[in-house]
């Protein structure tokens, strides 16, 4: 069976701004990335009172999820699921909690609940009622995977009808010493990218609600995993730009995008009706 799925939503928040595959909002000149100030605009139609209480990586994940899910026309709780891929995971919360351990009054229970990288997925699942099998996948920064292969596996095995694949990292500058020197450069950013995928073969109807089709092919030859440091979030950022119709030089024209692993290639092709 050829495993294939369709990407039907894309959302992002990163140093360039936030938005989905159609619309990008840029940060005001001189502004720092600040999900707190963003929250009231983003969630004004369906308020999210707890947003300010989430840790930073959860905030980023929820913003990207919110942007990607806006095109969703129907929901089905236990057929929807989410995956998050993260390199630094709960690092910021770990630091906050460890510092609180020595403070008067004792350690902070709230900070502790965010010291699990999977809490970001929990916040997304709670907010969007996703009750299917969720996954948090910590990954070394040198590997290019962005969770799409795992999402594809879930929807093709019919464990979920839709899977939200997130890549999220948020590391405060003070945490840099906690990361190995050769990994620091690519992790200095705060970002989250979300790709909503739906299972089954691409629909053959003339009217498509999808952005791109995705399939996996075996490599002819197994190769070793790439060991050169990948800019964390880099592949996800590139895919997001591809889906938005802008390649690295801001020009249109590239119609397929590949994510490679040792034995397989994920090939993502723009849906026919989205190709200009």
């Amino acid at each position: 069976m050829t495993e294939s799925a369709r990407i039907t939503g894309c959302g992002f928040i990163d140093p360039t701004g936030w938005g989905d595959h159609l619309v990008q909002n840029t940060w005001p000149a001189g502004a720092t990335v600040c999900p707190d100030r963003l929250a009231w605009r983003l969630f004004s139609e369906s308020p999210f009172d707890r947003f300010g209480r989430l840790d930073m990586v959860s905030q980023y994940a929820v913003v990207a999820a919110e942007m990607s899910l806006r095109s969703r026309t129907d929901t089905s709780d236990d057929e929807e699921t989410a995956i998050v891929l993260t390199t630094a995971g709960s690092l910021a919360a770990d630091l906050e909690f460890l510092a609180s351990m020595g403070a008067p009054g004792g350690a902070s229970p709230t900070a502790f609940s965010y010291t699990l990288p999977s809490t970001a997925i929990a916040e997304v699942a709670i907010r969007y009622h996703m009750k299917g099998p969720s996954l948090c996948l910590p990954k070394p920064p040198h590997l290019p995977e962005i969770g799409l292969r795992e999402g594809l596996r879930l929807v093709c095995r019919q464990e979920a009808r839709r899977c939200l694949c997130l890549v999220a990292d948020a590391i405060p500058t003070c945490a840099m010493p906690l990361l190995p020197a050769d990994h620091r450069g690519g992790l200095a950013d705060h970002y989250a990218y979300a790709f909503l995928i739906e299972g089954g073969s691409p629909p053959r109807t003339a009217v498509s609600t999808g952005i791109a089709d995705m399939r996996v092919e075996a490599r002819q030859q197994v190769i070793r995993a790439e060991t050169s440091p990948h800019r964390a979030g880099g592949v996800a950022s590139q895919l997001c730009r591809f889906l938005r119709g802008a390649d690295s030089h801001g020009q249109r024209g590239i119609e397929s995008f590949e994510v490679s692993s040792t034995r397989e290639v994920l090939i993502i092709t723009k849906a026919a009706d989205t190709i200009s």
Partner: protein, 399 residues
């Protein structure tokens, strides 16, 4: 969906009960609790809490973080029991590694941070093992594997979820062989964290007991060597049991508290049974998640009651034997289920004096010989992650 059972050809376990299946089973039969004093670090506020620490006399590989060492110990034991060292390297090295982990190198990173906070500087080499994925890489390197590597961090369901993911890879034909398991160590962060939630028992956990005070922390690692039944039979491997079904779900309820109705747990158990093409009445034994907290035990009991009704199998939680080893728990308890099926003996739910009247079953309180064909293992974690594994005994799976 039709599903051939996945064969377990090797097991490795290291925990508060020692290292290896034989020591582990002997301890379960002897009703020995591994809970005891904490010694791998000191804690002025919580050092008196009994924990499930891997005994200092137990041999673990040196080098790297404690997580890496425990994971390598568990993986090596599974590797050699499965006889994979006898496979041609070209075939062997393609095996996948899927590891559940939450604490990663935190035990070592904490020392760095403490020194940094106290004197303003520390040796950054201490934090080179910080991320969870380091143990996965270490296992792959130690076993000489060059295939797919995945780390799963789904809180206390991590180890079970890793096993489920590995089974998916084999069932789909993506992989022939996979090592799947879980690892976590005791850390100051988790000790202080769970204590800050007021969910830790100062007298050791008593799952399902009417007067239970909470959980006990533990540590350890466990691995299963998994392959398709066809692959195992073709190379003449001994099969120790089967993964007949698996399923995961999410409560989508609260970041730390479980859904009191246990709906997510129920859905995971039901889906795992459906995959295994079994009825609830086929299940002989449930190894409960049973942490000993008020909330978890009630939610799990509600889910079990809803699925099994009056046809209740034998149930026990083994958390007072091992402590709650977090990401390793689901993998350790997978080994417990497989040992139960092999030896046809159910382990006891230690610490139980009087069952909570809100729990609809009476856990097994002494190790009991029993006719077991199918066993179920539950693992539930913070964030509402749920994973259920269904095992069948080796003889039943033979063609």
């Amino acid at each position: 969906m039709r599903q051939d059972p996945i064969a377990v050809t090797g097991m490795g376990v290291i925990s508060a009960l020692g290292r290896g299946q034989d020591d582990t089973f002997a301890a379960l039969q002897a009703q020995r609790s591994g809970l005891g004093p904490l010694s791998i670090f000191s804690s002025a506020r919580w050092g008196h809490i009994p924990v499930g620490q891997v005994p200092s006399h137990v041999h673990i590989p040196s080098g790297g973080s404690r997580s890496m060492a425990l994971a390598c110990a568990g993986a090596l034991d599974a590797f050699f029991q499965a006889g994979l060292d006898k496979l041609p390297s070209a075939e062997r090295e393609k095996a996948a590694v899927v590891l559940g982990a939450c604490t990663g190198g935190m035990l070592e990173s904490e020392e760095f941070l403490r020194e940094l906070l106290q004197v303003g500087r520390s040796d950054v080499r201490r934090v080179r093992y910080h991320t969870c994925a380091n143990a996965t890489e270490a296992v792959a390197l130690r076993l000489g594997l060059n295939g797919q590597r995945l780390t799963v961090s789904d809180a206390c369901a991590s180890g079970a979820a890793a096993i489920a993911m590995a089974c998916e890879m084999i069932a789909s034909g993506e992989e022939n062989i996979a090592f799947a398991g879980g690892v976590d160590t005791l850390t100051r962060l988790t000790l202080n964290g769970f204590c800050s939630l007021l969910v830790v028992a100062d007298d050791g956990c008593r799952p399902f007991d009417a007067h239970r005070k909470g959980m006990s922390l533990g540590e350890g690692a466990a691995f299963l060597a998994l392959e398709s039944r066809r692959h195992a039979l073709a190379r003449g491997a001994e099969i120790h049991g089967y993964l007949a079904g698996w399923a995961c779900s999410c409560d989508a309820y609260h970041p730390t508290a479980p859904d009191p109705a246990g709906d997510g747990a129920f859905r995971a158990m039901r889906a795992a049974l459906e995959m295994a093409r079994r009825q609830p009445s086929d299940v002989s034994y449930i190894n409960a998640h049973g942490t000993g907290t008020i909330d978890n035990d009630l939610a799990e009991a509600a889910a079990i009651r809803r699925l099994f009704g009056e046809r209740m199998p034998m149930v026990s939680s083994t958390k007072r034997h091992f402590g709650h080893a977090l990401a390793a728990a689901g993998a350790i308890e997978a080994v417990v289920c497989l040992l139960a099926l092999r030896h046809q003996a159910v382990p006891a739910n230690l610490g139980l004096r009087q069952v909570d009247e809100r729990v609809a079953f009476r856990p097994v309180v002494v190790p009991a010989p029993a006719r077991l064909n199918v066993a179920m293992s539950n693992s539930f974690g913070f964030g509402g992650t749920n994973c259920c594994l269904v095992f069948s005994k080796a003889a039943e799976g033979e063609p």
